[in-house]
Amino acid sequence: MKKIILILCSLLLIVNVGFSQAKKPTIMVLPSDVWCNTNGYMMEFDNQGTKVKIPDYKKAFQENADLLNVISKINGLMADRGFPLKNAESALKSLEAESAENAMLTSKGGASVAESPIDKLKKTAKADIIMQMTWTVNTTGPKKSITFNLQGLDAYTDKQVATAVGTGAPSFSAELPVLLEEAVLAHLDGFNSSLQKHFEDMFANGREIIIRIKKFDSWDGDLEKDFGGKELGDVIEGWMTANTVKGRFSTTDATENMMLFEQVRIPLYDASGKATDARGFCKELQKFLQAPPYSITNKLMMKGLGQATIVLGDK
């Protein structure tokens, strides 16, 4: 009887691992800074004497019906491709609601919700891939046409992973919403083709992520600390070579206080066959550094699927 249960359990495990799927990136459509600036949806503030402009998405969503139509069309078409998108307007509303709830939430003993400054800073509407959209209306005499630009930007590597851009046929009579709908229909297939290429590359060569190593100033060691004739920085690079897909990564910056690894290709699944991401990958590095002979206490922080930071010397 025990044997049968054991066999059944192993079969279940095999089936589970076999059907394990890679972590699906989230995608969100946002208007570009250029579009927001052209249409007057910017906020301006004084940053220590320098005037800084940032897009006011909330205002844009509340006031521009064309923007809503375009986002709604793109969301619908992407959902049809099995890729429902995160709706930016809803994400902004959820953030506001959550902030209000956190401010009001207290325990029976009077304790409030713990929130560090970094937690507050991280509270932004985010997605793994941003579909950044720009359109301009071209007018030649009575004729109107739309130049439409859709860019797929990886939120972590800052790379443009998909694109579709072009100008529609000029029209004498068509209204702007009709021209915009036509632009979306014309360009979304091309955008999805390039996005699919990006996903195929990811399945073939691993997910591309960014890893940062930093140190707390309270720690007496640094990345030049010697371990058996090797500096800590070299030890970390050695670990990266051994654990990345085909040893692919670039050390973009390295000092005694920090290291920046870009174009790090990590496997989509860990050794047990479970889907993994930047955090899962860096957890292994964290354990490696915590174990002897290094015995370095460290803190792991993550941002979405593709960015992780390890801060050495404390929790």
Binding site: K23, F83, G166, A169, L185, N192, S193, L195, Q196, E200
Partner: protein, 177 residues
């Protein structure tokens, strides 16, 4: 008796003529099929179609203009899967990539595509001739001994893609996740 023999001869002649013309039509059809396999057709985008469709003009070659018109449907679906088409700024069409970027797919999945592109095959579900198949005078050209005929067709692109994804011929955007 003479009258009966004459009648018999006429009947045999009609039969021969019918068989000959049918076989000539079939031969022309086979030749057109071969041309499709050799990608001997040209595709132009005519305009942005309705949601889920692509509106294209396909130029096909055949000794018989009727065969070329019928073959245009097959060529249109073939083009969507294997060739794509170039953009056309005048009609607002962006360049369309094919559904597969594997040029050997047709050979690798020969069993599937032979049945798919057979006369009356499944490809018919995904294409319709626009404007009752009327061909503009400038789109019917005699090139050497054959005709080059341009027909505007509407391809149900989204349905075609979904069907090929379901059959495991091409990968979907979300496959693997």
């Amino acid at each position: 008796m003479k009258k009966t023999t004459k009648l018999l001869m006429v009947a045999v002649a009609v039969l021969f003529a019918t068989v000959y013309s049918t076989s000539a039509f079939a031969q022309a059809g086979k030749k057109a099929d071969k041309d499709t396999k050799l990608w001997r057709y040209e595709v132009q985008c005519v305009g942005v179609g309705n949601e889920g469709t692509k509106l294209i003009k396909v130029f096909s070659y055949s000794k018989k203009a009727d065969v070329a018109i019928e073959q245009a449907k097959k060529n249109a679906v073939h083009a969507m899967i294997f060739q794509g088409f170039n953009g056309n700024s005048g009609s607002g069409c962006p360049t369309q990539k094919p559904l597969t970027d594997n040029p050997a797919l047709e050979q690798e999945k020969a069993d599937f595509f032979d049945a798919f592109f057979a006369d009356g095959g499944k490809y018919m579900k995904f294409v319709s001739v626009s404007g009752d198949g009327q061909v503009a005078a400038e789109d019917r050209m005699k090139v050497g001994k054959e005709y080059k005929v341009g027909v505007v067709v509407s391809v149900l692109y989204d349905l075609l893609r979904k069907d090929l994804e379901a059959a495991g011929i091409v990968k979907g955007l979300s496959s693997g996740f």
